[in-house]
C-alpha cells in the first residue's frame, strides 16, 4: 500500500533519477525536513539540545564521513577520533586567530584542513589494504592525539592543555559559548548535517561514488576497467575526512565548548563512530543517521528507564548499557551485517505489499 511506484509517472530524466523516486518516500522526506527546520527550533530547550539533538546531529555527520570511507570505498579506518581532533583544533585556532569571521567559514575551513590531513594519512592505502590499513589509520589516531597534547601552539599555550571555545556568532546570533540559545546551536548543526547528507548522497550515486564502490568490491577489477585507484582512494579519504573534520569542529565548538584531546578524541571515539556505521549499515546514508541516533539515544533512554523510572542504582544502568551495546554489535554482525538500514529496506518492501502479500 505504501511505497508503491504505481501511478507515479516520471516524464523527464531528472525526475526519474531523483534521490527519492517514490512519491510517498519523497513526501516523508519533505515532512521530516519541515519538522526539523520549522517545528523543533521552536520547542527545543537546553536539555533536548545538549543531551540528545546536538550529539545526534554531529555524530551523524561523522558517521556519514566514515561511511563514505568504510562503507562505500571499503577502506577500514580507525582514525576517526584523530581526524575529529584535527577539525576541532583547526576550528579553535581559526576562531581565536580570526574572531570576526563567521562560524560557518571557520567550520568549513576546519573541514578543509582535515581533508588535507586525511589525504596525507590516506596515502598508505595505495599500498596496504584491509587489516594493515586499519593499523596504519590507528597510527594516525595515536599520532594526532599525541601531537595535540605535545605541541602547546595548538592549544594556545594554556596551562591545562585544554581548548575552550570562545563566544562567536553567525550574523549576530551567538552560536558558541554558554550564552548560545539552544535553537541556534541546533539549527547551525542541522544545516551542516543537511548539506553533508545531500552532498554525500549525490556523490555516492554519481561517478565518484561508483568508482569508490568499484574499488570496494574488487580493486584489481576496478583498475582493469579504468578506475584510477589513486584518485578514487584519495578522494574517498578527502571527502570522508572533510565531513569528519566538520563533525569534530562542531563537536568542540558548539556541543562541548571545552575539549581535552586525549579524553574526547581518543580511540574510543573512533570505535564509537565505527559502531554507528556498523549498526546503522555500511554503505548507506540513512544507516549513518540510524546508527548515530541509536547509539546516542540508547544510553539516555536506558538512564531514563532504569534510573528515573525504576530507581535502579546508576552504576548498574551504566554497566547494562555496555552489555547491551556489546551484545547488539555481535547480534548485528551475525544476523544483519547490513545494519538498521537493511531492516528499514526490508520493512519498506513489506509495506509495499501490505496488506495483501502474495
Amino acid at each position: 500500500m505504501f511505497y508503491r511506484e504505481a501511478g507515479d509517472f516520471k516524464t523527464s530524466y531528472i525526475a526519474d533519477s531523483q534521490t527519492f523516486p517514490i512519491k510517498f518516500d519523497r513526501y516523508r522526506y519533505y515532512v521530516v525536513l519541515a519538522v526539523a527546520f520549522g517545528v523543533i527550533p521552536f520547542i527545543i530547550n537546553d536539555y533536548w539540545a545538549n543531551a540528545l539533538l546536538l550529539p545526534f546531529l554531529i555524530y551523524a555527520i561523522a558517521a556519514i564521513g566514515l561511511n563514505i570511507l568504510v562503507g562505500y570505498c571499503g577502506q577500514v579506518s580507525l582514525g576517526t577520533g584523530g581526524f575529529m581532533a584535527v577539525g576541532a583544533y583547526a576550528c579553535y585556532k581559526l576562531m581565536t586567530a580570526f574572531p570576526d569571521v563567521s562560524m560557518f567559514i571557520h567550520v568549513l575551513l576546519a573541514g578543509g584542513i582535515t581533508a588535507l590531513v586525511g589525504v596525507l594519512f590516506g596515502l598508505p592505502s595505495l599500498r596496504i589494504k584491509g587489516f594493515y590499513l586499519a593499523v596504519a589509520t590507528l597510527a594516525a589516531q595515536f599520532f594526532l592525539v599525541w601531537l595535540f597534547n605535545r605541541v602547546p601552539w595548538f592549544y594556545n599555550y594554556s596551562a591545562s592543555g585544554q581548548i575552550n571555545s570562545p563566544e562567536r556568532d553567525v550574523f549576530g546570533i551567538i552560536i558558541t559559548g554558554p550564552n548560545a540559545p539552544a535553537w541556534a546551536t541546533y539549527l547551525f548543526c542541522l544545516i551542516f548535517l543537511t548539506f553533508s547528507a545531500i552532498i554525500a548522497r549525490n556523490l555516492t550515486r554519481g561517478t565518484t561514488g561508483r568508482t569508490w564502490m568499484a574499488i570496494r568490491d574488487m580493486d584489481i577489477a576496478a583498475e582493469i576497467i579504468g578506475v584510477n585507484p589513486l584518485k578514487a582512494k584519495l578522494t574517498a579519504f578527502a571527502v570522508s575526512s572533510f565531513f569528519v573534520g566538520i563533525a569534530g569542529a562542531l563537536f568542540f565548538a558548539v556541543y562541548l565548548g571545552a575539549v581535552e584531546v586525549g579524553e574526547v578524541f581518543g580511540i574510543q571515539k573512533s570505535f564509537l563512530v565505527l559502531f554507528m556505521v556498523i549498526i546503522g549499515g555500511l554503505g548507506s546514508i540513512f544507516g549513518s543517521f540510524a546508527g548515530a541516533a541509536f547509539l546516542v539515544l540508547l544510553p539516555v533512554v536506558l538512564k531514563l528507564l532504569g534510573v528515573d523510572l525504576l530507581g535502579w542504582p546508576t552504576d548498574i544502568v551504566a554497566h547494562l548499557n555496555l552489555v547491551i551495546v556489546g551484545a547488539l554489535i555481535i547480534i548485528f554482525l551475525v544476523l544483519e551485517p547490513h545494519g538498521l538500514a537493511q531492516l528499514w529496506r526490508v520493512a519498506k518492501e513489506k509495506l509495499r505489499l501490505w496488506p495483501f502479500p502474495h
Binding site: A51, A159, S160, Q162, T314
Partner: protein, 427 residues
C-alpha cells in the same frame, strides 16, 4: 522573529522546570570505569551526609534534601548530559569531582547562575573571584598542593633543595597538567631540577615512566594521579625499590585503595591533604546510627571513614553550610542557586562551627570573600602505615607559597577574562 524565537525558547524552558519542593543537589558521580575506585567512596560520603541531615534534622533548615545521582563515568560528554538533565530540576550547587567536567561547566554555570564548587580540583585560577563569579575552589587547590609538597620537602631538607632532582608523574590531562606551571616557577625559585613524566589515560601502562625514574634516579617523585593510575604507580615504584618516603602524591593519589594493592611495600608512601583523615569524629557516630545501621547508606556502605569518603563528607558539609547560610540570609527555606552562590561568597567556617557539626578540626578554618574564592590553601602531609593500614597526618596544615601562586592565578585568570570578555567584579 529572533525575539519571538527567544521568547518561545524561554517559555519552553520555564515550562520544563518543575515546582521547587526539595533542595535539589545533583551528585555527578562515577561508579563505573577506570576512575570508579575514587568515585565510589566520594559519592558514598557525599550522599551519606545528606541522608544524615534528612534523617537526623529533617533536611537543611527543615527542608528535605533530594540528592539526584547521575553517572558520568568521568566522561565529559556524559557530564554535560548530567548537567543539562539535573539543571532543570532546580539544582542548587554542582560538585562534579572531575577537572575535565569542571572546565566544561565553568562557562555554563556562570550563564545559568548556579554555583560550582570544585574542592581541591578544577581550574586553579578560579580562586580569583573577580573573574570567576560562580566558581569556588576553597579550601585548597592544585597549586597549593604543589607548593605544599615542595614546602614539605624544603622542611625535610633543611630549607634547601638546590641541585635536587624532582620528577612529576602526572595524568596526561587537564588535571595532571595543572601543577606544572607552579612547579616550574618553584624550581626556578628553589633551584631544583624538574622532570615531567606524563601517563596517558587510563594509566595502567607506566613501565617506561618508571624505567626512566630508575635511570635518572630523582631524589623525590611527586604524583598527580587518579583512579587506576595510582595503584599502578605505587606498585611500579615498589618494583624498582624507589624509597616510598620520597614519593609524595597529591590528595587524589592518597587513599586506601591506592596503597593496599602494593601491600607492605607501600609502607611510608606520602600524600598531601587539606582535611583530616580517619573516622575519629563525632559525626561518624551519627552516621552509624542514622545512616548505616538504618540501612540507608549509599553504595555498599563499606567505605565509611576512608580518605575519599571523608572528602565527600567534607564537600557535602560545605555545601550544606552554604545552603544553611543562604536560608538564614534570605529568611526562606526554598533557596535559589543564586542565593546559595551569594552565601558561598561569604561563607565563614570557624572552629566552633565545625565542632557543632561533629567535625572538630576536620579541615582548616577559612573565610571566603568576593575576590578570594580559594580559601587559605593550608596543606598537610599524611603518610601510609602499612602495618596498621591507616593514613596518619605527619605535619601540621601549613600555608603555601602565596607569592608564586598569587602571581600565577592573576596571570591565568586574566588570560581567561581576556579570552572570554569577562568583566572583573568586586571593585
Amino acid at each position: 522573529m529572533k525575539k519571538k524565537m527567544a521568547t518561545l525558547a524561554l517559555g519552553a524552558l520555564m515550562a520544563a522546570g518543575p515546582a521547587l519542593a526539595d533542595l535539589v543537589i545533583p551528585s555527578l558521580s562515577y561508579r563505573t570505569g577506570p576512575y570508579a575506585a575514587g568515585g565510589i567512596p566520594f559519592a558514598d560520603g557525599y550522599a551519606d551526609y545528606f541522608t544524615l541531615l534528612n534523617e537526623r534534622d529533617g533536611g537543611i533548615g527543615g527542608v528535605p534534601v533530594n540528592v539526584i545521582e547521575c553517572e558520568t563515568g568521568y566522561n565529559t560528554e556524559k557530564g554535560v548530559e548530567c548537567y543539562e538533565s539535573t539543571k532543570g530540576e532546580g539544582a542548587l550547587i554542582y560538585q562534579p569531582l572531575s577537572t575535565g567536567i569542571t572546565y566544561q561547566l565553568i562557562p555554563k554555570v556562570t550563564a545559568d547562575d548556579i554555583p560550582l564548587h570544585t574542592m581541591g580540583y578544577g581550574r586553579t585560577s578560579a580562586r580569583n573571584g573577580k573573574v570567576f563569579s560562580h566558581v569556588f575552589n576553597y579550601p585548597a587547590n592544585y597549586w597549593d598542593g604543589a607548593s605544599g609538597a615542595i614546602n614539605y620537602l624544603l622542611d625535610e631538607n633543611g630549607g634547601d633543595l638546590n641541585g635536587k632532582k624532582i620528577a612529576l608523574v602526572y595524568h596526561n590531562s587537564a588535571y595532571g597538567k595543572e601543577p606544572i606551571r607552579t612547579l616550574e616557577e618553584l624550581s626556578k625559585k628553589h633551584g631544583f631540577e624538574l622532570s615531567l613524566l606524563p601517563v596517558d589515560h587510563p594509566g595502567q601502562e607506566q613501565k617506561s615512566q618508571w624505567l626512566q625514574i630508575r635511570r635518572e634516579k630523582p631524589d623525590f617523585v611527586l604524583m598527580w594521579g587518579w583512579g587506576v593510575m595510582n595503584q599502578v604507580a605505587i606498585q611500579e615504584a615498589a618494583n624498582i625499590r624507589f624509597p616510598m618516603e620520597n614519593f609524595i602524591g597529591v590528595w587524589w593519589s592518597g587513599a586506601q585503595h591506592d596503597v593496599l594493592p602494593a601491600g607492605d611495600k607501600a609502607n611510608g608512601y606520602k600524600a598531601v591533604t587539606f582535611h583530616a583523615v580517619g573516622d575519629d569524629f563525632p559525626v561518624f557516630d551519627d552516621i552509624k546510627t542514622h545512616v548505616v545501621d538504618a540501612g540507608k547508606a549509599a553504595g555498599a556502605g563499606d567505605q565509611v571513614g576512608t580518605v575519599l569518603y571523608n572528602r565527600g563528607l567534607y564537600s557535602a558539609m560545605l555545601a550544606a553550610e552554604a545552603i544553611k547560610d543562604a536560608q538564614e540570609a534570605n529568611g526562606t527555606g526554598d533557596v535559589t542557586p543564586g542565593m546559595v552562590r551569594d552565601a558561598m561568597e561569604q561563607l565563614n567556617i570557624t572552629e566552633e562551627r565545625m565542632a557543632s557539626l561533629g567535625m572538630p578540626n576536620f579541615g582548616p578554618t577559612f573565610q571566603v570573600s568576593c575576590d578570594n574564592h580559594g580559601g587559605p590553601g593550608l596543606i598537610g602531609v599524611s603518610q601510609w602505615d602499612a602495618g596498621t593500614q591507616t593514613w596518619n597526618l605527619i605535619s601540621d596544615f601549613k600555608p603555601t607559597d602565596g607569592e608564586v601562586i598569587g602571581a600565577l592565578v592573576e596571570e591565568d585568570s586574566s588570560a581567561y577574562a581576556a579570552e572570554n570578555n569577562v568583566e572583573t567584579r568586586c571593585n
